[in-house]
């Protein structure tokens, strides 16, 4: 009994789309009573592995044993029954239900078919006390709780279920330091009860405090497994960053102009952006690197006026006052363009035609006295679609039926029709195939060569190092590094990405 593993994963493989592996023969061992940290850069495969263990997605190869028994949950319920429980990063508290009901939503106590309120209250009290929330009234609506409390209740919910393997995904993101202490205390108790904990986090200092072992993931594989205390944080970061990407530097001919065309200074938004400052030049492709949740998307949206900001300046040649844009409309007037990450939700009119999507930002240019001049509009759409080699049956085809790459080209084409000279790209190559990626890279180069200013957010560091003239690293809402091609290494950028999350002491050298 004592030497059986809680989780023993051997050679686990997973790909969502054929040919694009997310997990490649991943090995992972977790002993009962062990807190095991799982770390890695964006897209390393941490959440995919967690989803497999909790039955949210199946795996394609390899085997997983749970307490020496083969384990392949087909849904969340099967995983829960087998004792694997996960606390998701997002809050799932239902605001209108009481704390007690939220806690036991999966198994509300019943008496002759009716909710047994007394039993529920007692069980809730007990569960809350275990999280140090004795003072919290279980009849309070979930929506009345602060974010930190919600997170604790969320964890209490998971702990209220019988579990032998507990997965925590960034559990401390919303917690204050006394709340974190409380959580860690609780985790130590669980350890004594023999519960195995998988702790997914960016925060190196917490991993040092709470974990017994750490597995480093990179590109869907195990890059290393260590006992805490036998490894240093710089070594872990080296493992996450992996082999040095030395790509052809000939792609990067640095822009000659040193004219600053976009100056962002001390941009702030409560809880998200803690004073972001950087500059971008004419003809430059500036990469914004960082972990998911570092505030990169939020930075682009704040610059573009899509979200309200609490303070800071965004200065461009057409916005010399530096007052942040109050709406996307004023940003577009000042010559900015934004290509959002989630193009289906924020970029496209999925059921509308290629033509109307292409001219969405510039329709009034093709109008006389308020009337759309169909011929002019069509000509412009055709021009752009030809220039970007958009593959579609006709301009009337709905964009829903196009490939991701062609959809992306249409959004980019939309901005080419405007007079924009500052382009903000958020994950421009997410979900598009290799050929289309190359087309996007070429286009970025072309725009830069034409004197445009380009800011690109990408979670793919290799990609960013390939296309950027310079890289600024964000971490936890702050700028933690700036790199020129001569000096950047994936290790240094990865270190800077983690710096804002409490690892700065160790990597300062």
């Amino acid at each position: 009994m004592s030497n059986t593993l809680a989780v023993n994963a051997q050679g686990v493989c997973k790909s969502y789309t054929p040919g694009v592996p997310v997990l490649q023969s991943f090995d992972f061992q977790l002993a009962p009573g062990e807190v095991h940290a799982l770390i890695g850069s964006n897209g390393a495969g941490k959440s995919t592995f967690a989803k497999i263990l909790t039955g949210l997605t199946p795996f394609n190869g390899g085997s997983i044993q749970l307490h020496d028994k083969l384990f392949a949950p087909r849904n969340k319920q099967e995983a829960t029954t087998a004792g694997v429980v996960m606390v998701l990063q997002e809050l799932n508290i239902i605001p209108t239900l009481s704390v007690a009901e939220n806690l036991f939503l999966h198994q509300l106590p019943k008496k002759v078919g009716l909710l047994d309120k007394n039993a529920l209250r007692l069980k809730a009290k007990e569960a809350l006390a275990r999280m140090g929330l004795e003072k919290l009234d279980p009849s309070l609506p979930g929506g009345m709780l602060g974010v930190g409390q919600q997170q604790l209740v969320e964890i209490a919910t998971a702990l209220a279920q019988e579990s032998s393997v507990l997965i925590l995904d960034e559990p401390t993101a919303a917690l204050t330091s006394p709340e974190i202490d409380l959580l860690f205390e609780r985790i130590r108790l669980l350890k004594q009860e023999g519960v195995a904990v998988i702790y997914i986090s960016h925060r190196m200092d917490e991993i040092e405090r709470i974990a017994d072992a750490v597995t480093v993931m990179r590109d869907g594989e195990r890059a290393g497994q260590h006992r805490i205390g036998e490894v240093t944080i710089p070594a872990l970061i080296r493992e996450m960053a992996g082999h040095e990407v030395k790509d052809s530097t000939d792609r990067r001919s640095l822009p000659e102009s040193k004219e600053v065309t976009l100056s962002v200074s001390d941009l702030r938004r409560e809880g998200v952006l803690r004073g972001i400052s950087f500059e971008a030049h004419r003809g430059e492709i500036l990469g914004l690197a960082g972990l998911i949740g570092a505030g990169r998307t939020e930075t682009l949206r704040a610059i573009f006026g899509a979200d309200r900001v609490d303070g800071g300046r965004v200065t461009t040649p057409k916005n010399p006052s530096g007052l942040p844009f109050s709406s996307p409309q004023s940003a577009v007037w000042a010559g900015l363009a934004f290509v959002p990450e989630d193009r289906k939700a924020e970029g496209l009119l999925l059921d509308r035609s290629v033509g109307s999507n292409t001219t969405l930002a510039t329709l009034s240019q093709f109008a006389a006295a308020g009337l759309v001049q169909t011929k002019q509009e069509e000509d412009a759409a055709v021009r752009v679609c030809e220039r970007l080699a958009v593959k579609c049956e006709s301009l009337a085809q709905a964009v829903r039926n196009l490939s991701g790459g062609n959809q992306q080209k249409i959004i980019i084409g939309r901005w080419l029709l405007t007079e924009c000279d500052i382009f903000l790209f958020d994950e421009p190559t997410r979900g598009i195939d290799v050929a289309a990626k190359d087309a996007v890279y070429d286009l970025l180069d072309e725009l830069a060569a034409a004197g445009k200013t380009i800011v690109v957010v990408s979670s793919d560091l290799e990609e960013l190092m390939r296309i950027s003239h310079r890289i600024v690293v964000l971490s936890n809402g702050s700028v933690t590094g700036e790199f020129e091609p001569e000096s950047w290494t994936s290790e240094a950028i990865t270190a800077a990405s983690f710096a804002g999350f409490g690892a700065e002491k160790e990597v300062a050298a």
Binding site: F304, S327, P328, A345, G347, L349, S356, L371, V372
Partner: protein, 325 residues
């Protein structure tokens, strides 16, 4: 040119065909249906409802809804009939239309700026306008005799109010399909956030739609009062539901982004024909309601299935030929 006709036929043909079938069906079932009297009766009811349905089409296209049109019509009509006694007719008409516009402005501004669903805002406006209409009319029917007669006079054999409604419908369709404003409304109804992030302001356009719907309701109240020869606070009861039903039968999506004013007009014809036809063949009151309800649900269901049906038909009939015109 033939392509244009094909498109016209594809856009409006099915709806018109359904209406024609309905007319012929009732004609076959009842000797009194295809008579001038019955048809004139239907034609008399069309204008007010068609003008409101035009405004409602715009509101539904931006994924909103206006439940207040019935009682706003009563309020505008009351303002018209009361002020006609003391003001010149054109001024009284203008006042009625502006009253409607004001109600629309309220619906639009509150729902857009306070981010309250237009369903709720317009439900409140429904009660407010109803109360105000009672206040203006002192809860009595205000009669105006024959002063609004010019609207029911015939021009080329058809009442003037019918021509007005037809003009509104064609004008509305033109605005929707040919102007920058109309194109942006369709875009807003499809994906509001995408339009905003394309640098196009959406709030003012959405408010304008509610104002437009209100102004048209005010205009409808004039046509309505002309036909009735007066107005009372209860006159518009249920009109909002009839208008929404007509628009939905006409294939406008409640989810926004898709719709046609002309098809809404045919929807109005269908609803009124159904109503008059069922009465003609002696259907009892309860059956009329039952059948109208079923028709609405069938229309919406067909519309919801439309995408799937089209796709499966395409798969069935053109498996090899990849159509690339």
């Amino acid at each position: 040119m033939s392509r244009n006709w094909k498109r016209l036929a594809a856009d409006y043909g099915p709806m018109l065909a359904i209406w024609v079938v309905l007319v012929l069906l009732f004609g076959a079932l009842s000797d009194n249906f295809l008579t001038t009297r019955t048809l004139a009766n239907i034609a008399g009811q069309v204008p007010a409802l068609a003008v409101i349905a035009c405004g409602m089409t715009f509101v539904l296209i931006i994924a909103g809804i206006d439940l207040s049109v019935g009682s706003v019509l009563a309020l505008s009509g009351s303002v018209l009939c009361v002020s006609m006694g003391v003001l010149p007719l054109p001024v009284a008409i203008l006042l009625a239309i502006l009253t409607g516009g004001l109600a629309g402005l309220f619906n639009g501004a509150v729902s857009v700026f306070l981010k309250i669903p237009s369903f709720i805002v317009s439900l409140g406006t429904l009660k407010i306008a109803f109360g105000l209409a009672m206040l203006v009319t002192s809860s009595e029917t205000v009669t105006v005799g024959l002063k609004l007669e010019p609207f029911v006079d015939r021009f080329l054999g058809v009442p003037v109010s019918f021509w007005v409604a037809l003009g509104v419908v064609l004008g509305g369709q033109f605005i929707l399909t040919r102007t920058v404003f109309g194109r942006y409304l369709i875009a807003i109804g499809t994906n509001d956030e995408a339009v905003r992030l394309a640098g196009v302001p959406t709030a003012s356009k959405k408010i304008a739609v509610f104002v437009f719907c209100g102004l048209l309701t005010g205009l409808a109240s004039v046509l309505f009062a002309a036909r009735l020869g007066g107005m009372n606070a209860d006159a518009g009861n249920g009109l909002e539901l009839a208008a929404i039903a007509a628009v939905v039968i006409g294939g406008t999506s409640l989810m926004g982004g898709r719709g046609s004013v002309v098809n809404s007009f045919v929807g109005v014809l269908i609803i009124l024909t159904l109503d008059a036809g069922l009465a003609q063949i002696g259907a009892r009151e309860f059956l009329k309601h039952l059948i109208t309800g079923v028709v609405i649900i069938v229309a919406v269901t067909l519309d919801a299935l439309r995408g799937d049906l089209l796709a499966s038909l395409q798969r069935r009939f053109q498996p090899k030929t990849s159509s690339s015109q």
